[in-house]
């Protein structure tokens, strides 16, 4: 038996109220008012497809140090680098066993995540474990329908042959050069075609064709499907396709259009994770991914589903939002404005790659040092032990600090230093079990934050160099 062994998700905390998009833009396109219901997830300035992927993996499998999947696959069409494998960055941030690990970025289609899941399942067929993470940070033009419909988020699925919670029954794929939208080389935004054509010639034909082939292969009746996942920003399409296929209306997965928005290629996996949270043993789950053809995967939920839960899951993250009503902040965070950032933003952002490579134990993996002579934990790792009673030379071993619980010892909210979202919070964090470091903080709630606040550390963007197209990452303390 091979199939899904764990699932998880991540949604940014900020939820842009769609009303504010309409308030700003309805003068130009009154049609936007009709879409202005609910909210959508919105990356903080220091989140992107990589940072969200780290979080989604962690929600799926917990703090990762010591875990040894054979492969980590990352699906996204919004990866921050065209040539630097993002899945490797994610793997190092997770502290996976990179000395024995396959990685791959899968991109260029809304179907990338379902295709990636199929590849992960191929690896599972060989008896190994693999994890597929899908993550998307979507940008859209001001006053576009996409701006109303798109959201940011990530989800992760682990596959293997032990403790399977949803067995792969069958899969089928079609490749069709149907261009509902595209994003050309060097382009920031999607260019789409009329929705009615996309619906009638795309969704309503390609998906049924693929699913029918799958069901025939599996010998399963459409009426027996308990969960039908069709990620799309066209609200009525899932029901129309379900009806055409003979799938029960109750099986249709909510596309979360008014709470998340469509998270691009991550959406299929996000919805899969969401449905698995609600699934019962024996349920048949039909997952489709649409984009230049279609992937269709059929899973059967096992008894083991009861024992495997994500840390927070989609429902947990849905409940953990913070309403954001500042449309300008959304545009700023997504670099959609030519904004005056001040002279203090003009620092040297050069990426000294050789120094970065040396520092990556700390910067990518948040490794400290643990002295083998006196057990003192210290950050960063150093040639000499920091304990004045010890001071031993060259005794420190790598010590993962990612899961450590921290407390704020000192802090400030700095409005002078440049930050995309001032004030910049930073301070001294002391970790239970040893180790302390002066570090940046994110997602601070000024009402409840103070010395003594409990924090955990999260992989976030530290600096963005738009000129060179580079970005640096480090860990930030976030209030528990």
């Amino acid at each position: 038996m091979r199939g899904i062994t764990a699932y998880g998700a991540y949604l940014p905390k900020a939820r842009l109220q769609k009303r504010v998009i309409a308030d700003a833009n309805a003068w130009f396109d009154p049609g936007l008012k009709g879409l202005a219901k609910g909210e959508k997830t919105m990356c903080n300035w220091d989140e992107d497809a990589i940072t969200m992927a780290v979080e989604a993996y962690t929600d799926c499998l917990g703090k990762a140090p010591g875990q040894t999947p054979a492969a980590l696959l990352l699906a996204s069409t919004s990866l921050p680098f065209n040539d630097r494998q993002s899945s490797v960055v994610v793997a190092e941030a997770l502290n996976l066993n990179i000395a024995d690990l396959r990685t791959m970025d899968i991109t260029s289609s809304q179907r990338a995540s379902t295709s990636g899941l199929l590849s992960a399942l191929d690896i599972a067929a060989g008896g190994q474990e693999a994890v597929l993470v899908a993550s998307e940070h979507r940008r859209a033009k001001c006053a576009s329908r996409e701006e109303m419909l798109y959201g940011d988020g990530a989800a992760a699925i682990a596959v293997g042959s032990k403790n399977v919670i949803a067995e792969l029954v069958a899969s089928h794929s079609q490749a069709v050069d149907f261009i509902d939208h595209f994003r050309g080389e060097g382009q920031d935004f999607d260019y789409g075609w009329e929705e009615r054509w996309v619906r009638d010639e795309g969704y309503m034909k390609i998906i049924p064709d693929t699913v029918n082939a799958l069901l025939a292969k599996a010998g399963v009746s459409a009426a027996d499907i308990a969960h039908f996942i069709l990620p799309t920003e066209q609200g009525r399409v899932p029901a129309m396709v379900a009806k055409k296929l003979g799938i029960d209306g109750a099986a249709i997965a909510d596309n979360l259009l008014q709470s998340v928005g469509i998270t691009g290629t991550a959406h299929a996996i996000l919805l899969l994770a969401h449905r698995l949270e609600q699934a019962a043993p024996g349920d048949l789950v039909l997952l489709t991914g649409f984009g230049q053809g279609c992937d269709a995967l059929l899973f059967k939920v096992t008894d083991a589903i009861k024992k495997q839960r994500p840390v927070k899951g989609v429902n947990g993250f849905l409940d953990n939002g913070r309403p954001e009503e500042n449309y300008n902040k959304y545009q700023s965070f997504n670099d959609l404005l030519e904004k005056e950032l001040g002279k203090r933003s003009e620092v040297n952002k050069q990426a000294y790659l050789s120094a970065m490579y040396r520092a990556r134990g700390l910067t990518n993996s948040f490794l400290g040092g643990k002295c083998t002579a006196c057990n003192t934990v210290q950050m960063p790792k150093h040639k000499y032990c920091v304990n004045p009673e010890c001071g031993a030379y060259d005794t420190q071993e790598d010590h993962p600090m990612v899961g450590a619980k921290g407390h704020v010892a000192t802090w400030t909210a700095d409005t002078l230093t440049f930050d995309y979202s001032p004030p910049a919070y930073f301070g001294m964090v002391t970790f239970e079990g040893g180790g302390r470091i002066m570090m940046d903080m994110s997602e601070v709630d000024p009402e409840t934050f103070d010395t003594g606040s409990e924090v955990s550390v999260h992989f976030r963007l530290k600096q963005i160099d738009h000129q060179a197209g580079f970005r640096k990452y480090f860990w930030k303390a976030i209030q528990a």
Binding site: R344, A355, P380, V386, D414, F418, F426, M428
Partner: protein
């Protein structure tokens, strides 16, 4: 135990430029302004200076590296000149180098010159700068007030001080320095402020507001040092001698180990103890006549009163509010306006403080002259509260 520096070296002359936004001045102009006062006071010829040290804190934004800015700026006569940089302690470090050179007998007369041209950045506050290629990868995104605001959070947490009480004590620190600066024609900021103004000013880095921050200034200050014997032979009277020169640099323990709680600066305490021992001081609050401390931010000055053992631990808020460190208080602090109002051209600050101590001890401090001061202490603190360099110097009447 080494015999220490006490009374081995005296200040022969000192000078200081007007501090401020000196838009029309090159660094060399500022140096010349301070040096002309200093050499006239010393009563020697430039050719008698045998070695010089130049302190600049942020070279990239003023004159670049090396010692040529000083040697060429003053057209020094082909003598050894060395540039020193040690954060905000740079000025005192240059003084230490010159003093040690004289004490060692390597030269008879030496010059320490500190200067900084900060106002060529196009924005307020200190210039943006790297803290090192690797450090920049993980150091927090911070400004100088942000760094020192950590002390406020740590202090509040340790002593349970309310935000309001701490902010009021911080305000008092600044109000006092503004009052002192009013009497100093060379000070950058010469205006009175009220506690209410200080408490309600624009927030810079919680809880540090605009009036909790020192001035960012252009300026230069210098001193010429020699042996007591040479000074006497030149006809100098009422000599001001060096009593102690100590510094302490963090080793990472405060930030990286578990002892430090953010409520104090460990290096200041260590340097102060050493300085008191070197100068033979056993009761600092009674024996020290006046201090010029590193009030980059008001909260730094307040915490420094405890770190110099002038206030009990946890007692600085009350002492500050009781006026202990006011001009008419028990141990006046920043009688020249301090970094707060005299200004803080980084490389010059340590020497500016010594300049004021020298004037006070020589009875030449004009409207702000204190009554019969005996010992003056200067203190510089550069870096972060948890990893920094600190200098403590004590000067006083020679032979007393």
């Amino acid at each position: 135990m080494a015999s220490g520096i006490k009374d081995k070296v005296v200040i022969l002359g000192a000078g200081c430029s007007k501090f401020g936004e000196r838009w029309d001045c090159e660094p060399a102009d500022l140096m010349a302004e301070a040096f002309e006062e200093c050499i006239a006071d010393a009563g020697i010829d430039k050719s008698q200076i045998e070695a010089a040290w130049q302190s600049t804190g942020i070279d990239a934004y003023s004159v670049g590296p090396g010692a040529m800015p000083l040697s060429m700026g003053l057209r020094l006569p082909y003598i050894p000149v060395t540039r020193l940089e040690n954060y905000c302690a740079s000025g005192t470090e240059a003084f230490r180098a010159a003093t040690y050179a004289v004490a060692s007998g390597a030269c008879d007369i030496a010059l320490a010159m500190g200067f900084e041209k900060l106002k060529d950045t196009g924005y307020g506050g200190l210039p943006q700068r790297s803290r090192g290629v690797s450090n920049d990868l993980y150091y927090p995104n911070l400004s100088a007030p942000g760094m020192f605001a950590q002390l406020a959070a740590g202090y509040r947490a340790k002593y349970g001080t309310s935000k309001e009480d701490l902010k009021r004590a911080m305000a008092h620190v600044s109000v006092k320095s503004h009052a002192n600066g009013m009497k100093n024609p060379k000070a950058h900021l010469q205006r009175l402020i009220t506690e209410e103004q200080a408490m309600n000013a624009m927030m810079i880095a919680d809880p540090i507001g605009l009036f909790d921050c020192c001035g960012v200034s252009d300026g230069a200050a210098c001193a010429i040092v020699t042996t007591p014997e040479i000074a006497k032979s030149l006809g100098k009277q009422n000599l001001v001698g060096v009593k102690a020169l100590q510094m302490c640099a963090s080793n990472g323990e405060e930030g990286g180990f578990d002892g430090w709680d953010g409520s104090y600066v460990k290096t200041t305490r260590i340097a102060a103890k050493r300085a008191y021992e070197e100068a033979g001081i056993t009761k600092p609050r009674e024996q020290i006549s006046m201090t010029e401390v590193h009030d980059c931010f008001s909260v730094t000055e307040m915490v420094t009163m405890e770190d110099l053992f002038l206030s009990e631990d946890g007692g600085a808020v009350k002492d500050v509010l009781d006026g202990v460190f006011d001009a008419d208080g028990e141990v006046p602090c920043q009688i020249d306006g301090g970094l707060k109002c005299f200004g803080h051209p980084i490389g010059a600050s340590g020497l500016r403080m010594l300049y004021e101590m020298y004037l006070q001890l020589s009875g030449r401090a004009g409207d702000r002259q204190l009554a019969d001061p005996k010992l003056g202490l200067t203190h510089n603190l550069g870096g972060f509260p948890h990893q920094n360099v600190v200098s403590v110097a004590i000067v006083g009447a020679y032979g007393v």
